[in-house]
Every structure is written in C-alpha cells, then in structure tokens.
C-alpha cells in the first residue's frame, strides 16, 4: 500500500562522510555486484562495451568543486543513493502499490511483482535515487541491502550494506537513526549531519557529514607549503651547470658525500 506509515519503529539509514570519501567508486561496484545477484531483477547494462554504455546503478558518485572567493578550490566526492525519506514522495505517487515504506524499519522498497514501470516515482524523487531498469522494465532503487542486514547466513560483520562493508575509507556508516545513541545518530550530531534539499520536504533519513574546514594555506598562489623551507636554496643564483632550487640543493648535497 502506498500510504506512508505514520511512524516507523526503526529508521535505518546511512551516514555518508563527505570529508572522508575519496571517490574511488568501490561502493558503487560492490553495490552493483551484490544487488545484481540478489533481491529482484538483475541490474542490467545496455551497450556495455559500445559508444554509449548505460546501466542501472543504485548508488552513484558525483564529484564537485567548491570554491570560495580568494581561497583554493576544494574537491568533494559525493556518493548518492536512496535517502529512505520519512515523507517519501516516490511512495505516495505510485499507482500500483509497488512502492512502499516498511513500518518496522523505514526502508523504502519496490515490489517488482506489482511495478508496471511507469517511472512516476523516479519523477517524484528529488535525488535521482530511482532508475528504471532498461531490460526488466521495473523500477530499481537502493534496498539498504535488506537481504544482508538481517541475513543470518552471513557472518556477523557482513550484516551491513555492501557499500558500507566495502568502503576502504570508512566513509559510509549504517545504523538506526531512531535510536539517539546509535553510531549514526551520534556521528550525525557530532559532525552536523545534514539533509539534502531540505526545502523539498521529503525528510530524508540519511545524513551527510560536511567536509571539515580545510586549513587555509595562504590564498590562491601559495599552494606549495614546502616553499618557505626551500627559500634559502631557491634564492641562490642558478647558472647553467649549477641548477638552483631543490635540484641545486640535491646537487650540492650529493657533491658533499
């Protein structure tokens, strides 16, 4: 039923740390690998080796440049998967009842046996978290790895989402936001976890930790923090067979041995 539950007993979701993510796409790959071989239809690729490859993914990494006037630009890798919104518009628009939000843990899922592939839910999601599979014709989205987190056939340390388990940097955390003492609630409280596009009113469960402020290394053209230490050498006159700078120093240092 596409009515949303009033409240959910748990609010399972992810904390994504934008300070730590290195943009390696490991979570994207492991997400695809786990989800193409488990819950529902496989995540197809179309024209995979051709000129315009296109595939279904439940998790995507954008990379942004953030720049403040007079400061150096900063690169932010930005993983994006379903935020399992409390007020999920993708669920209420669904005409077939295929989309639903679980009362017990807040996970938003698609029942592929009912989905008619109209795509309206993907239109209703502000975050681009739903993709219609081009071969199966049904809607695919992040399942929060519902088939891992409760799966007693897996060793305990694997009972977390595939993306969380695989992230080499530890940028993704899984837990229950309804519990104020959970790892994710505490992380989010400590680091000012934020909602994406809050003005859409979707009340996302997932939180993003903003990048920590970077130490200002002195404005635009002073990017080389070693420069001051090398200054005395740099200032020495450089001639054709007497190179200056670091090479000059190296040259002299080797001479002395």
């Amino acid at each position: 039923m596409t009515a949303l539950p009033q409240t959910t007993q748990k609010k399972l979701g992810l904390v994504i740390d934008l300070d730590i993510c290195v943009g390696c796409h490991a979570c994207v790959t492991n997400c695809k690998e786990w989800n193409t071989s488990n819950y529902g239809a496989p995540l197809s690729d179309v024209d995979a080796y051709g000129a315009e490859p296109m595939g279904t993914f439940l998790n995507r990494i954008h990379t942004y440049e953030v720049k403040q006037e007079g400061c150096n630009a900063q690169t932010v890798h930005f993983p994006k998967s379903c935020l399992h919104c409390d007020d999920a518009p993708c669920v209420t628009v669904c005409p077939t009842g295929a989309s639903y939000k679980r009362e017990e843990d807040g996970i938003v899922l698609v029942n592929e046996d009912r989905c008619m592939g109209c795509g309206l839910c993907a239109w209703a999601c502000p975050y681009g978290a739903r993709e219609l599979d081009q071969l199966a014709g049904v809607m695919k989205k992040c399942t929060l790895c519902v088939d891992r987190i409760y799966n007693e056939n897996l060793p305990e340390e694997d009972r977390v989402p595939a993306c969380v388990r695989t992230c080499p940097a530890g940028a993704r955390h899984f837990g229950d936001f309804a519990d104020p003492d959970s790892n994710v609630s505490r992380l989010s409280a400590e680091r000012g976890g934020m909602e994406l596009m809050p003005e859409q009113g979707t009340k996302p469960v997932n939180r993003y930790l903003p990048p920590r402020p970077k130490t200002d290394i002195g404005g635009e053209n002073k990017i080389d923090i070693l420069a001051p230490f090398l200054e005395p050498v740099v200032n020495e006159e450089a001639t054709q067979d007497q190179p200056g700078g670091f090479l000059g120093w190296l040259d002299k240092a080797l001479e002395k041995i």
Binding site: I61, C118, G119
Partner: protein, 291 residues
C-alpha cells in the same frame, strides 16, 4: 523532462476526448441516432486512444491492472479509475442517445462532471510534483481543464462559446508560460541546497558519475531544443486559439473552415504540450549541474 511522444499524445488526445464527452454529457449538441454515433465515436477514439498511448510509456505493462488499486494516495491511480468509470457511464448515456432516441439527462450530467474530474486527475499527476517546479502550481490544473473545455467545445461544434473559450485558453496558456518561467527560481533549489555544500562556497560539477547519459538524464535532464522554445511558443500561442477563431469568424461557416480550425487547434495543442515537457526542469538536474 523528456517530451516522450506517448505522454504528449496521451495528455493531448485524452483531454480533447473527455472535453468532447463533457459537452455531449450536458447536451450540447443534443444529437440522436447516427450523428450522435459520430460524435461519441470521435470522443471515445480520442479518450481511449490517448489512454492506450500512455501505456506505451510503461516498462512493464503486464502489471498495469494494479494501477487501479492506490486511489487513496496516487493521482495516477485516481486518473485510471476516473477515466474507466467515466467511459463506462458515458457508454450507457451514448447507447440511449444513439439507439434508443433517449437522453438520460442525470447520467449525462454526472458523466460530464466525471469527464472534467478525469482531466483534473491527469493534471494533478504533473501538478503534484514538487520536483518539477514549473508544473507544481494550481495554474497547471486550470490549464488542462481549459484545454479540455475549449477543445471539446470546438469539436462539439459549439462555435459561439468555443470562440470565447479559445481566447480564454490563449490567455491561460500565456499566463502559464509567464508564471512557469519564474517557478524554479521561486522554489529556491540550487546546486548548493542539493549538495548541502553552499556554506563552503560556490559549487560546480567537476566529474559526473558516469560518462554517458543514464536513465535519469535521458528522462529528466532534457535540454535539447529549448533554444527554439520562443518560436514554438509563438506558433502554439497563435495556432491553438487565434487562428481557429479567425477561421470560424472570418470565413462563412463550412465544413472545410471548421476542419481547418480544429487542425490548427490540435497543432497548437501538440506544440504547447511538447513545450510543457521540454521546458520543464527537474531538480535532479542540479546534481548534474545542468537543467
């Protein structure tokens, strides 16, 4: 948004069909026998044809039957139910007019109201979407309803009222363009709110997540052809109302000028509906730094 032919045909034709059913339902024109048959045939061809076209948009049509189940929350589900109920009810009314020489007046009135409700539900599929600010306003429903009533009047041959309605429609359409152009800015979504990185500075996309367009971009980040939108607006704006009105008034009334008036109206309708989709910007485009 991607202006898929299936949704353009669906919204345009079914709107016209239900508009015509509205006029037939309230008894303008009150026709019986063969001429009633002709009228109802056109109305059903348009309404049903439009609905069938919409199924071409489905990835998995075998589950379409479930679309009648979620009327409590989903406008698309309500649209499906409303159109089927309207078509069934009006079929009984049509049988009366065509075969029995009888007009079941009450049935006609209910059918007319349901026809308008059906068009309203169609409009709400789009107007409900906060993610597409251009659509997310009441005027969207006003526009769909005006299109249906005006186009229906034209098809029903109610010339004097059709002329007025077509002019009103032209005004509504221009008002929708005016208001729509401001909606995205008014809604306040930017790449900074989308990423939450605004307090760190100005954000721009450095590297997209994939090298060629995916489903999201093909479906929702449609930017092709917007450069022609001014010209298309003029063509649509003139063709959907002004040209038909001139044809109906300036020339002595005959089937050819009437048919031409309808043809121009439909041309304007298709052009305007193409723009309705092509010009609509989805907020997900912000993540791709393009709208």
């Amino acid at each position: 948004m991607h202006p898929a032919p299936s949704v353009i045909i669906f919204t345009s034709l079914s709107g016209l069909g239900f508009g015509l059913l509205f006029w037939l339902g309230i008894g303008y024109p009150e026709v019986y026998g063969m001429s009633a048959f002709g009228m109802f045939f056109v109305a059903y061809a348009l309404a049903v044809g439009g609905l069938l076209a919409s199924t071409a948009h489905l990835g998995n049509p075998k589950n379409a039957i479930h679309a009648f189940s979620q009327w409590r929350t989903s406008w698309l589900s309500r649209e499906g139910i409303a159109s089927v109920v309207t078509l069934l009810l009006m079929a009984v009314y049509a049988i009366g007019m065509v075969f029995l020489g009888q007009r079941f007046q009450i049935l006609g009135w209910i059918g007319a109201a349901l026809s308008m409700f059906t068009v309203f539900t169609t409009s709400m599929i789009y107007a409900q979407l906060k993610t597409v600010p251009r659509w997310n306003m009441r005027l969207t429903s006003v526009m769909f309803l005006t299109y249906a009533v005006a186009g229906g009047a034209l098809l029903a041959g109610q010339i004097s009222i059709a002329v007025v309605l077509l002019l009103v429609l032209t005004l509504v359409q221009f008002a929708v363009w005016q208001a729509g152009d401001k909606r995205f800015r008014e809604a306040g979504h930017t790449i900074e709110t989308a990423t939450g990185l605004g307090n760190l500075g100005k954000v721009r996309l450095l590297e997209p997540p994939h090298t060629s367009p995916n489903y999201l971009m093909k479906e929702m980040v449609f930017t092709v052809g917007r450069k022609h939108s001014r010209k298309l607006r003029m063509i649509a704006g003139v063709s959907l109302g002004l040209l038909p009105v001139i044809l109906l008034y300036a020339l002595p009334f005959n089937p050819i000028s009437a048919a031409l008036a309808v043809a121009f109206h439909v041309l304007g309708l298709f052009a305007a509906r193409w723009l309705f989709f092509a010009e609509a910007e989805h907020v997900v485009g912000l993540y791709y730094d393009k709208r």
